[in-house]
Symmetry: C2
Subunit: 135 residues, 2 copies
């Protein structure tokens, strides 16, 4: 399995396709060729998870309407829910002002987004001092 | 200005304080000592922005009830809205199943979270194929 796609790799002659070129001009990938993708439930606004995409995972997400990520630990592409059935159906993909974060709004199928069985991966809290706005 | 705090730095003898030790056991910082923090409007669920925290920024956020980040470009701490007035008042801080992403729910003051004047940093969209769930 090859590493994350970063456009044409050094030593190769392949130029980015037109679609890839447009993505590369809008998005900024990190030194590892990755961009964080926040996944949000389009129906109730719950932040479900964050995972990482490379250019190819972004391209697959945009063209298939399912969420594709690059697993940094397994070093392979994965399509969310392909084995668990907890699939995500993409409704929109936004990018932030710096072009270095994606926000993917989805219809979440099945139990939820987390491999633990929880609907959201963010099911644990830290203690925080809460201060009233001094408006 | 020193770099991001990663607990005791190699070559220093300072042990983590009790609070830092608890954070370090719950959270997983990347090779640069950073963790991505998604900021969400607690009132309407809008995902406002993503920025990066090191251990010290997490500690400041938890103890002051304001959002603190580590700027990777300026290499300094910043407290959101301290100069713009677009302050964020923290209502909860969650961490994900892998302990390597934070979700900070806030009351957003002022115009919004984005330096462009937009309420959310995610104001631009990519074209995506939308597929109906085959339920």
């Amino acid at each position: 399995m090859s590493g994350p796609a970063r456009g044409p790799e050094p030593g190769t002659s392949r130029a980015p396709t037109q679609g890839e070129g447009e993505l590369l001009s809008s998005l900024s990938f990190d030194a590892s060729g990755l961009i964080p993708a926040i996944v949000q439930d389009v129906e109730d606004g719950t932040v479900l998870m964050l995972a990482w995409m490379d250019l190819e995972a972004v391209r697959r997400t945009l063209t298939t309407g399912r969420t594709w990520f690059w697993s940094r630990s397994r070093k392979e592409y994965w399509c969310k829910g392909e084995t668990s059935g907890d699939r995500q159906w993409v409704r929109s993909v936004s990018y932030d002002c710096d072009g270095d974060v994606l926000l993917v709004r989805v219809v979440q199928e099945g139990r939820g987004a987390c491999h633990t069985g929880m609907r959201s991966c963010f099911y644990r809290e830290l203690d925080v001092v809460s201060v009233e706005p001094d408006r």
